[in-house]
Amino acid sequence: MRAYPLTWRLLDVLEAGVAKVFPRRLAGATPYLMLAPAVLLVGLLVLGLFQIADGSLRTLDTTTFLMSESYSLDNFRRALTEPLFRNVALKSFTGSLIVTAITLMLALPYAYVMVRTKSAALRKILLIALFLPFFIGQVVRAYGWLIILGNQGLVNETLSFLGIGPFRLIYNYPAVLFGLIQYMLPFAVLMLAPALTAIPEETEAAAESLGANWIQTFIHVVLPMARPGFVGAGLVVMTLSLTDFAIPAILGGGSQDFIANAIYDQFFRTSDQGLGATLALLLVAAGSTLVALVFALVGTGTLGMGRAKQ
């Protein structure tokens, strides 16, 4: 008799165990059981939102520095009427719009060249140039920009060698936007690239053989066909830059606060948890409205993660 391998025995035991705990007739529940851990984990965020909502209804008692027991909408009134918050919100929204526009403009050619190039080596270089900053993290990147753009930084020293400057290149609004564009570029390219891969090269060739020049081909063929990628990329860039903390904090030097910085300050500087929670809740609401609107209008684009369409 041939020996029955140990691994087979082990598998048989496991199989019997599974069959006992989870009989065949429950097989329909399998996908739900497989999804349950992820649903629970994400549930932590939902629970967190409830906590924030609860906090937003409690006001800070300035005499005892405790949160009130009773609920009121006072925080919302303050968040919506005080000019400080309106300015911060306006600054963040305008900023994220500018960042999204410029990032997409830079990401499209990058993704296009990366997808279309015949050279495997060039494609790899472009991919590495993309992943390296993506994997390094915001703090280190912002630190790099401080070295480059600082008052005694690379750019100003070079300019002074030429007899110009120095210029104040950091701690202002353009510096924050610039940092955000650099931070967002890898996200945008990675969301756009699959959509561009999906466009057959022959389609472009066909347009060109019909007499369209490359600009017309781009506008009438590539852009419309890459729409799912633009949805994904635009949405990710817009929401991430709208809600970023590190870049405005480091490159803005405290003078260029975005919404996230204002929320952080409410929690850790002014210690008004209620107002901080209110601002956070309003930001979540604004972000979700934006996402829901885009999803409803144009679908999830390249953001979807379900079954491949058959």
Partner: protein, 266 residues
């Protein structure tokens, strides 16, 4: 402008701007870490490794780095089973409320990080676990979970369902089919996903900042706190540790699954 030459010039001008913008901070940090001076100046005052020697001596930086590693390990160990199961389920089964589930599982991306971070801070605070490191790992796992699910669904969708039926037809019971056919097929996705999870947790800043206190700062928070006070070359040297980790992750990713996987259309 409308000629093929014009197209090349136009595209490449923008691509080169992008490459320079993307790479400049990394290169400058690398360069600054080798300076011999006590300040970061241009042109640099000679080359030396003294800042690497100094960070090797600094226990606070070493401990912060180890804490970041610990957070990454916790995050990845949770993300692998959770994300793999969810990814396979979404890719292969027709589940009820599929749309709603998808949108729900995308919540970590659609809820702003500051909102997620503060929510988790309040929950962990109520549970009395704030001030420990493992909740930071869990938090990093939650906020980046869609990356893991994405990576797994991408490879699970390319697995032909007939293969699993064939295995079953040859007498393999369900668990065996899962372990011997389904799991090996999604392994590239699991590798991609777990590398992303690990490296993003290693770099995670805002959620760390909200969840740690002064005793247990992670490395990105430590660097952030130091930037605010003074910019010295030892920060550049410690930043190079991140650059090294990123380069290593890219190499592993390229070797095991190939970077091109991110260009595939769905």
């Amino acid at each position: 402008m409308t000629t093929a030459r014009g197209k090349t010039i136009f595209l490449w001008t923008l691509v080169i701007i992008s490459i320079v913008t993307l790479s400049a901070p990394t290169l400058v940090v690398l360069g600054a870490s080798f300076t011999a001076g006590n300040m970061i100046t241009f042109p640099p005052q000679g080359l030396s490794l003294k800042w690497y020697a100094s960070i090797a001596q600094a226990t606070d930086l070493r401990e912060a780095f180890l804490r970041s590693l610990y957070v990454s390990v916790v995050c990845t160990l949770i993300a692998i089973p959770v994300g793999t199961l969810a990814g396979i389920a979404l890719a292969k089964y027709a589940v009820r409320f599929e749309k709603a589930l998808q949108i729900y599982l995308l919540l970590p991306f659609t809820i702003p990080l500051i909102g997620s971070g503060i929510g988790l801070m309040l929950i962990f605070g109520n549970a009395g676990v704030l001030g420990q490191l493992w909740p930071v790992g869990i938090a990093c796992c939650v906020i980046n979970l869609p990356f893991m699910v994405w990576a797994v669904t991408a490879s699970a969708s390319s697995l032909d369902p007939d293969l699993e039926l064939a295995a079953a037809n040859c007498g393999a019971p369900p668990l065996q089919t899962f372990l011997m056919v389904t799991l090996p097929a999604v392994t590239p996705g699991v590798i991609t996903g777990s590398l992303l999870m690990f490296i993003l947790a290693l770099n995670e800043f805002l959620v760390s900042l909200l969840l740690v206190d002064a005793r247990i700062v992670t490395l990105p928070v430590q660097i952030y706190n130091s930037i605010r006070s003074i910019i010295t070359p030892d920060l550049a040297a410690i930043s190079v540790v991140f650059i090294g980790c990123a380069a290593l992750a890219i190499m592993i990713l390229d070797r095991l699954v190939g970077l091109d996987v991110f260009l595939k259309s769905k």
